[in-house]
């Protein structure tokens, strides 16, 4: 962490991650083009430029599919959480591949006519295809523009200058871009290809992304319902402290839509808002490192007891009061002001459940 912006912050893990993505793209493109250059049964050999355009486009789509799978996978299993760490570089790399696809396609299909290539892109369609006049290229362009705005605002400078809610709303547009790309590739392939391979692959990728999001949503909805059923008039039942994984959290949804992360560090339990000050990241999916709650997205840290970042940082998040009663943690749904110190709930790790009459109150 530092006080000044840097262009790109790489570390050993991020460099390895980035190299792996680049190698995959290189390998994919190479195999795609070499395989495509083999003469077909009719003796026709596809144009290498066309193959390159398709290789960049499909590789970019595959990477975007993978990026969109990371979020729900990380919610379903902790094993996928490390992949959240470098999603920003992953996204920018995907955009660079999309740019190569767009640039080559624009030059190849629209660069040799009398019209300006950009104008040509809008006014020309594919007559004689399955969907004559269907503007599949314009859909691709719309997706590209969304990805462009996401890529150029990926630096923290933009997060701070656009504000977190605006920045997040802009970056949620990735789902719109993905939908446009699904139609772009499926329709484009139907216009130019006889093989159902492209539409089938796109449909398969789309179903995986949609299915994972649906599965995660249904699972979280089930958990939320169960928890809401436990709510009484004021305090919210959380769980037995022993049931919270050590150095981890359980996320408690409140009636007003807020989510609270209840962390355990050994025999201590504390609660803070689930929303990181940085990019609204899900703190409850992070872990406790050196006594500090650490956001899974970019590693921002907050002390468990008061929600303040360790010196020299001064960011503050809201804390919540907890109570241990009859072996269960209860949560006061009213948030304290950011940075308010709250002594952690202490519990005896040697017993599976606290005794019936034990009550440790934290204020």
């Amino acid at each position: 962490m530092g006080h000044q912006y840097q262009a790109i912050q790489w570390n050993k893990n991020k460099v390895q991650y980035d190299i792996a993505i680049a190698l995959f793209a290189l390998l994919y493109t190479g195999v795609f083009v070499v395989t495509g250059l083999q003469p077909s049964e009719t003796g026709n050999t596809p144009d290498p430029v066309v193959l390159l355009i398709r290789a960049f486009g499909t590789c970019s789509f595959l990477l975007l599919t993978f990026i969109l799978m990371i979020g729900p996978l990380a919610r379903l299993s902790d094993r996928f959480k490390p992949m959240l760490y470098n999603r920003r570089h992953f996204g920018v790399f995907t955009f660079l591949l999309a740019t190569a696809h767009f640039g080559l396609a624009l030059m190849w299909y629209h660069g040799f006519g009398p019209l300006n290539p950009f104008v040509s892109l809008f006014v020309s369609n594919q007559p004689g295809g399955t969907f004559p006049g269907f503007p599949f290229e314009v859909l691709g362009l719309a997706a590209f523009i969304i990805m462009l705005f996401m890529a150029i605002t990926s630096h923290d400078f933009w997060l701070n200058n656009l504000s977190a809610p605006v920045w997040k709303a802009l970056h949620m547009m990735v789902y719109v871009a993905y939908g446009l790309l699904v139609i772009h590739i499926a329709a484009g392939a139907l216009l130019t290809e006889k093989s159902p391979l492209y539409p089938a692959l796109v449909l398969f990728a789309f179903l995986i992304v949609a299915g994972l999001h649906l599965l995660t949503g249904l699972r979280e909805r089930g958990h939320d319902r169960l928890r809401r059923a436990l709510e009484d008039k004021g305090w919210v039942s959380v769980s037995a402290p022993q049931d919270i994984p050590d150095k981890r959290a359980v996320i408690v949804p409140l009636r007003d839509g807020e989510r609270v992360a209840v962390f355990r560090d050994g025999n201590k339990v504390s609660a803070v808002t689930n929303v990181c000050r940085h990019q609204n990241g899900p703190l409850g999916e992070g872990r406790v490192v050196d006594g500090c709650i650490t956001c899974p997205w970019h590693g921002w840290q907050y002390r468990m007891e008061d929600g303040i970042s360790p010196p020299p940082f001064t960011e503050k998040i809201a804390t919540y009061n907890l109570k241990l009663m009859n072996g269960m943690i209860f949560l006061d749904p009213v948030a304290n002001a950011p940075g308010t110190k709250v002594d952690p709930v202490l519990f005896d790790q040697s017993v599976q459940r606290a005794s019936e009459n034990t009550e440790a109150t934290v204020s």
């Binding site: 000044q4 840097q6 262009a7 790109i8 912050q9 630096h155 400078f157 933009w158 701070n160 970019h298």
Partner: protein
């Protein structure tokens, strides 16, 4: 009509280039404390965004509002 739209986009981007360069040279440190003294690589990294989103940044620059008196730049790339 299409050509007119294209020309408007080009004009918008040209204005963006001019304002972005001025902002990077003279305005950025005043508008955002975390950018004070940041290197040329950082400035080039945010340049494409400035070219497209220059009205937002120009508004902030002219209003004199500052952000990041004490930034927590955990992962800025």
């Amino acid at each position: 009509m299409d050509e007119t739209i294209l020309l408007a986009v080009i004009a918008y981007c040209l204005a963006g280039i001019v304002i972005s360069v001025l902002f990077l040279l003279f305005g950025i440190a005043r508008a955002d404390h975390a950018a004070k003294g940041a290197g040329i690589a950082f400035r080039l990294t945010i340049l494409p965004g400035l070219i497209f989103l220059w009205p937002i940044i120009l508004g902030r620059w002219l209003s004199g509002r500052q952000i990041n008196q004490d930034i927590h730049a955990g992962d800025n790339s």
